[in-house]
């Protein structure tokens, strides 16, 4: 594409999105609609080439059946051509679950689509159970077990413990317990304030990048 044309196109789209800050307008609506369409199309294609092809078709050997010869034989070829069992054949289960998902469209047997959902939710629950437990709970607790020989360690331990007290559900936050929970809230507030203050910084560089594009790359006004 001609670079002035393509830059102008990109600049119009940039201005279109920024114009939303003033108010909703036809140019923004156009950019928004275009963005939705193009990005949905983009991910559709990406899903096909980055997930379906390598993860299902290559492993099963469907890519090869479709005529790609530089791809090694998959599980189906191994089974039917050589009579060998291959672990990759298990990907067929994923394929079947995927097809079950599509059965939503057939209202009579649409309930089958709950099976892949149950599979997903069950496995996520199992997986996250362990990963969160290890890296969020155990590791953080271990890191907090420190000798109380410095001010910083004291603050760290008091902050962590009172913070946990704030989340305590089954006891009313009253009296000493309530006071501890309030200290916990202050620690949470410092945490929120600090991350907010810190992020402001990196958000600016994005805007500078766009301004630089508009006035520098497109209009050539910078240096």
């Amino acid at each position: 594409m001609d670079s002035f044309f393509s830059h102008t196109l990109a600049a119009i789209l940039t201005i279109g999105i920024i114009s939303f800050l003033y108010k909703d307008n036809p140019l923004y609506k156009f950019c928004e609609s275009l963005f939705i369409g193009v990005s949905a199309g983009y991910w559709f294609v990406q899903q096909y080439y980055a997930n379906l092809l390598p993860k299902l078709f290559d492993n099963l050997g469907i890519t090869r059946m479709l005529g790609a010869e530089n791809v090694p034989e998959g599980a189906l070829q191994k089974l039917f051509l050589h009579g060998e069992w291959s672990e990759d054949l298990l990907y067929l289960i994923a394929g079947i679950l995927g097809v079950m998902m599509l059965l939503r469209l057939v209202s009579r047997i649409g309930w089958i689509s709950r099976w892949p959902m149950a599979f997903i939710v069950g496995s996520i629950s199992g997986l996250y159970f362990i990963t969160y437990f290890q890296s969020n709970a155990m590791r953080q607790m271990q890191n907090t077990i420190l000798p109380l020989n410095s001010f910083n360690n004291l603050v760290l331990i008091v902050g962590t413990v009172t913070g946990i007290i704030y989340f305590y559900f089954s006891k009313e936050h009253k009296g000493l317990f309530g006071a501890a929970a309030r200290v916990g809230v202050y620690f949470l507030m410092v945490t929120f304030g600090a991350s907010f203050g810190y992020t402001v910084m990196s958000r600016m560089s994005l805007l500078i990048g766009r301004v630089d594009f508009l006035f520098g790359t497109w209009l050539g006004l910078v240096k």
């Binding site: 809230v185 992020t199 910084m201 990196s202 560089s205 805007l207």
Partner: protein, 300 residues
């Protein structure tokens, strides 16, 4: 007529200012400095200066491993750091070994080689002064392996030459052969993995640069496990200034970090001013409506 009345009205107007006015201020705070190429002086803070001093202290021919652990989306923030590190190492005649833990890092190495080394230091020779080891999958596992045996993973360089045919690779055995590891990126895998799986077990100094968002997560490692850290554009700008201070000739080179700090600083000041004004107007307004003060709360 009560002279205070119109004043309160004024504060109320400010307190309920149309957000578009704020947007306008932020817009100008960025556009004007960009157009005027306004920049301000940066002083290197200790966390940045310590990296500069370390590279400064390395004797000629020392080996520096640079790991490109970022992708296109963070290029605006991370590339200035990479450029500054590369220039400093080239200037000090250090041997540069470039690799990537991120798949996207591969192209970024080639681009950095073209834009900085070949362009600005044309006398440097590939294979003698710098080498591109390319991307290898394995994340922290890769670091773990090359801690003991680098050539097990890297049998060739990124251009496909036999690894022992690259002169500067001959006396490289493992990570401990390097005098410094620099990791640029800050996501996963990145600096943290280099510290935990490379620097700590191998007792090799590790430093690097990270995006502003990920830098806070790395502070706990400084200074014991992490020699120094460039956090976001500000870190890059500080390093560029340290470089210019030490080698005035770099003043004429591009310094995107410093360039971006100008608009950024102005924008920050605008935001700080808005917070201050917001609070002043709030307190002025509260005098008037004492009864409302116990309502609400940030956590509510």
């Amino acid at each position: 007529m009560n002279p205070d009345k119109p004043k309160m009205g004024f504060f109320e107007t400010i307190a309920n200012i149309d957000r578009r006015v704020i947007f306008l201020f932020v817009g100008f705070a960025v556009i004007i400095p960009v157009l005027l190429s306004f920049s301000c002086r940066e002083e290197a803070t200790p966390i940045v200066q310590s990296i500069f001093d370390k590279i400064e202290s390395l004797p000629e021919g020392s080996k520096v491993l640079m790991s490109f652990d970022y992708g296109p989306s963070t290029v605006p923030e991370v590339q200035p750091m990479v450029d500054a590190f590369l220039r400093h190492c080239c200037e000090k005649n250090l041997k540069i070994y470039m690799m990537a833990l991120w798949g996207t890092g591969h192209n970024l190495i080639s681009e950095s080689m073209e834009d900085i080394i070949k362009e600005e230091f044309p006398h440097k020779v590939y294979g003698l002064d710098y080498v591109n080891l390319g991307f290898k999958a394995g994340q922290q596992g890769l670091i773990n392996v090359i801690l003991t045996d680098l050539k097990k993973m890297y049998t060739t360089d990124a251009l496909g030459s036999e690894i022992d045919a690259v002169p500067m690779m001959v006396d490289i055995r493992n990570l401990k052969s390097f005098d410094l590891i620099l990791s640029m990126g800050g996501g996963f895998p990145g600096i943290k993995e280099w510290v935990l799986f490379g620097g700590d077990p191998g007792n090799i100094p590790v430093a690097g640069g990270a995006t502003a968002v990920s830098a806070p997560l790395l502070y706990p490692y400084y200074p014991r496990q992490l020699l120094g850290l460039l956090g976001g554009i500000k870190g890059a700008a500080e390093y560029e200034s340290a470089l210019i201070k030490g080698y005035p000739k770099f003043k004429t080179y591009s310094h995107p970090g410093i360039d971006m700090m100008g608009p950024q600083t102005v924008a920050h000041i605008v935001i700080v001013l808005f917070i201050v004004i917001g609070n002043i107007t709030f307190f002025m307004g509260r005098k008037k409506e004492e009864e409302e003060k116990r309502e609400g709360g940030a956590l509510k």
